[in-house]
């Protein structure tokens, strides 16, 4: 008796597959980054001790700037892609999705650019 075998080629990952993978891999990275940020800034330091000088002292260290750059890059992309995945449940037409995807992409680009400029430019003195 012969056995018939059939090989199925694994399909090339499309955009949605990559986005699905990105959410999970970025999640693993974001656990220490975001939990650390929250426990430090909200719980240990607290908002009552945060002001312009605090940010200036913090950003004087390149390590904290890199930490914040990673947060900006990964947390916000993860967040905007999450909003996209939720809205895909509600918007089913190709046209609607196209408008929504471009709108969210622009939102991501503009907000990330604003954050990156501030992060690179640093704290400016009060005039």
């Amino acid at each position: 008796m012969t056995t018939n075998t059939r090989t199925i080629q694994k399909p090339k990952p499309n955009f949605e597959t990559k986005s699905w993978m990105f959410m999970r891999y970025s999640a693993i990275l974001l656990i220490p980054l975001v939990f650390g940020h929250l426990i430090l800034q909200d719980v240990i330091v607290g908002v009552h001790r945060i002001d312009l000088d605090y940010v200036a002292i913090r950003w004087a260290s390149i390590g904290w700037r890199i930490y914040d750059a990673l947060l900006l890059a990964f947390a916000f992309a993860h967040g905007v892609n999450g909003i996209r995945q939720v809205l895909n449940d509600f918007i089913q037409s190709d046209r609607g999705r196209k408008i929504m995807h471009w709108g969210l992409f622009l939102l991501w680009l503009i907000v990330t650019a604003i954050g990156a400029i501030a992060l690179i430019g640093g704290v400016r003195p009060i005039s």
Binding site: I31, L38, V47, H48, L52, F76, G82, T112, G115, G122
Partner: protein, 139 residues
């Protein structure tokens, strides 16, 4: 609009118990965190663009209303993080373990870990708020 109604009805009437509730909670906490994150990136960028206004933004965050919202935000982030780690573990490392009993058990563990992290964190944040905003504990 019919799409919205169909999706919302599905969200509300699907009876998947623990897995369903953690799906809904994951979405709500994720959306809440993402919306806050947009505001938070913009307010922090004030240190470069409008340093004179940064203290005004911080004063808003120090108010009692935002202090309570902050406690809620920390719950959102902790739950979304722990539950996200659970999903990533099953999807990437052990997809064979996706089963109803394991999901029911692991969602309960997720909630337990979240509460174990959130309760002490919110106690410290509430202490800080009562100290600074209401003068308790000698503040």
């Amino acid at each position: 609009m019919s799409n919205l109604k169909t999706t919302m009805t599905g969200y509300a009437s699907y009876r998947g118990r623990e897995g369903h509730y953690s799906f809904l909670l994951h979405r709500i906490t994720g959306l809440g965190t993402a919306l806050f994150l947009i505001i938070h990136i913009l307010d922090t960028s004030f240190v470069y663009f409008f340093p004179d206004l940064y203290q005004h933004a911080i004063n808003l965050y120090r108010s009692t209303l935002f202090g309570i919202a902050e406690v809620g935000l920390v719950f959102c982030v902790f739950f979304h993080g722990v539950n996200g780690l659970r999903v990533a573990f099953f999807d990437l490392i052990a997809p064979r373990l996706w089963s109803v009993p394991k999901q029911r058990f692991s969602t309960k563990i997720t909630l337990l870990i979240t509460l174990l992290m959130w309760i002490p964190a919110s106690a410290i944040m509430l202490y800080n708020m009562l100290y600074h905003n209401f003068g308790w504990f000698g503040g």
